[in-house]
């Protein structure tokens, strides 16, 4: 046996200070970049909460949440958010009723039925729809879709939630189609082969195997579409009207939360007035609305997640 020798660290194996410092600096820079988005989110929430707080000093939360009249610019001002919420929910529901079926069916077609060539032609065209400015869609609703609808229902007012909702639905079809198609294409081929080997047809395979396997991605697409519909501004501001109106009747005209915000923000309300602060309270409601849809979506996705 050799006698134990005292160990020392050879300079060739010692810690490389320069390299370690460099790594650390890079790490901090990367983290700062990631923090920009997080900090912005918190800043927005902070501003919304701060301004809303001053608003709720003048208007009680109960009146705000349960009031049925929204007339902040009148002499006799009322601050009940319900008419704006009803407008937002009605237009969003119409949009989803249009976009979810058409978008999902398009995705199934593109992923499971279309030939490579057909897909290469259709998908870019569909994605082109995303690039159309929303203001164009707004005028499309007002000057093309609404007149068409008026041919069916002559009583339909020029500004109405139906036309705005339908056009908003067309606008979000690409989101649903494209994201759902990505989710379906990510389903491993071995799973499809398993289905075909059992004697299933293409349609049976698409509906009974591929769609359930891709469901978490499809639900994610729906959630994104809902958030997009709830937050959409231009189309509803242009085509659905600017009058707050507590109704779920799509044939009527009604303002949405976003339409109100853009209307007031463009006017010259004095900073610090109740009317000015009311847009922050409305914004807060809008944010909570999208947040709750996101949470529901997250929960649904976790509940139905499929691992391969």
């Amino acid at each position: 046996m050799q006698a134990p020798v005292e160990l020392s660290i050879s300079p060739r194996l010692a810690k490389n200070i320069r390299r370690n410092v460099k790594e650390r600096v890079i790490e901090v820079i990367l983290m700062l970049a990631a923090l920009v988005a997080v900090a912005t989110t918190f800043a927005i929430v902070g501003v919304l909460l701060y301004e809303s707080l001053s608003f709720f000093k003048t208007v009680s939360i109960v009146e705000f949440l349960t009031g049925t009249e929204w007339t902040p610019l009148f002499e006799d001002a009322h601050y009940g958010i319900l008419p704006l919420v009803s407008g937002t929910l009605t237009t969003s529901a119409i949009a989803l009723a249009v976009a979810v079926p058409i978008g999902t069916i398009s995705a199934i077609f593109l992923s499971e039925f279309a030939s490579h060539k057909t897909r290469e032609i259709i998908k870019p065209i569909l994605e082109l729809l995303v690039g159309v400015p929303t203001v164009v869609f707004g005028y499309f609703a007002l000057f093309f879709v609404t007149p068409l609808l008026q041919a069916l229902y002559p009583d339909l007012s020029t500004f109405n939630m139906l036309g705005a909702g339908i056009v908003m639905g067309i606008m979000i079809i690409p989101y649903i189609a494209s994201l759902s198609e990505d989710a379906m294409r990510a389903v491993p081929m071995s799973m499809r082969e398993g289905s075909y080997a059992m004697g299933a047809t293409r349609f049976q395979t698409a509906i009974k195997v591929v769609t359930p396997a891709a469901i978490s991605g499809i639900v994610a697409a729906y959630i994104l579409a809902i958030s997009r519909a709830v937050g959409e501004t231009m189309v509803v501001a242009i085509a659905a009207g600017q009058q707050p109106n507590l109704t779920f009747n799509p044939l009527e005209s009604a303002a949405t939360i976003t339409a109100y915000i853009v209307q007031v923000a463009m006017g010259d309300l004095p900073h610090g007035s109740v009317g000015y602060q009311s847009i922050f309270a409305a914004g807060l409601v809008l944010m909570l609305l999208t947040l709750s849809f996101n949470i529901i979506g997250h929960w649904v996705r976790k509940r139905y997640r499929e691992a391969y």
Partner: protein, 259 residues
């Protein structure tokens, strides 16, 4: 060679196969599948054994541009299943398949087994319950899953998932069952279970199994075919292939000098 009284269930006759890129993957293969026997396909990777197996249930039809040439005749129909007038879905209704990696559907254990029946339009709950139980018993999985038939199939272990896939393939009473390297993703114990199962299933149906494991072919099969570079080098009783192969290439592969 084969006992003359054993009926033939299906046979390949001068079968060629071309992938969409023009590559010729099978070169003039002729061999029988005897009824209620296990036929094993062995050979090095890329020799065309899986390609050959997938011709039987027309799986190559799923990808555009693939081309069959020659015949696979199925009995008693005396029909070439590769004929353009044959509906591949009808073929798959009678020839089922178990894949290399377990590929259960994102459904419950019960629904996985019931899938083939549902596809065939069966909706009677009583018949379905019976068939599912029978198939799970046939795949030696019933005792392990009978209390959790409505759990997601992904919660099963790999070996259990593969037996579930066998149950799924069994539920529709196929005449031929194709196994494409069914144990290559499994541990030795799960492999032994599947092999035992194949031997038991032989009394009910005709089996064609691709394997890269020569011991497996020797253990389970009645007939063995050795393939190399898309050609059938030798076909014979499994005993003869593994004891007195007639071709030098087969002997080299079996003894491990090559492959």
């Amino acid at each position: 060679m084969a006992n003359v009284t054993t009926p033939i269930k299906a046979e390949a006759r001068d079968l060629n196969f071309f992938y969409s890129n023009g590559a010729r993957a099978l070169k003039g293969i002729s061999m029988p599948l005897y009824e209620n026997k296990i036929t094993a396909l062995i050979g090095p990777s890329g020799c065309g054994k899986s390609t050959f197996l997938r011709c039987f249930n027309r799986m190559h039809d799923l990808y555009p541009g693939n081309k069959y040439q020659g015949q696979i005749v199925m009995h008693p129909d005396n029909t070439n299943v590769l004929d353009a007038g044959v509906d591949p879905i009808e073929v798959r209704m009678r020839i089922s398949m178990v894949f290399q990696k377990p590929n259960p559907f994102p459904k419950s254990i019960y629904e996985n087994v019931a899938y083939g029946l549902r596809v065939r339009g069966e909706n009677n709950k009583r018949i379905m319950d019976d068939k599912v139980e029978e198939a799970l018993k046939g795949a030696a999985l019933w005792n392990e899953v009978k209390d959790r038939l409505h759990d997601l199939a992904f919660n099963l272990s790999g070996g259990q998932q593969q037996r579930l896939c066998i149950a799924r393939a069994l539920a529709t009473d196929p005449e031929i069952m194709l196994f494409d390297e069914p144990t290559s993703a499994l541990d030795p114990i799960a492999t032994a279970n599947i092999e035992e199962l194949m031997v038991e299933l032989r009394s009910k149906l005709t089996i064609l199994v691709v394997t890269h494991n020569m011991q497996q072919a020797a253990r389970v099969s009645d007939y063995t075919a050795y393939m190399y570079l898309g050609e059938l080098i030798e076909y014979n009783d499994t005993d003869k292939i593994f004891t007195t192969p007639s071709r030098k290439e087969t002997e080299d592969y079996i003894t491990g000098k090559f492959g």
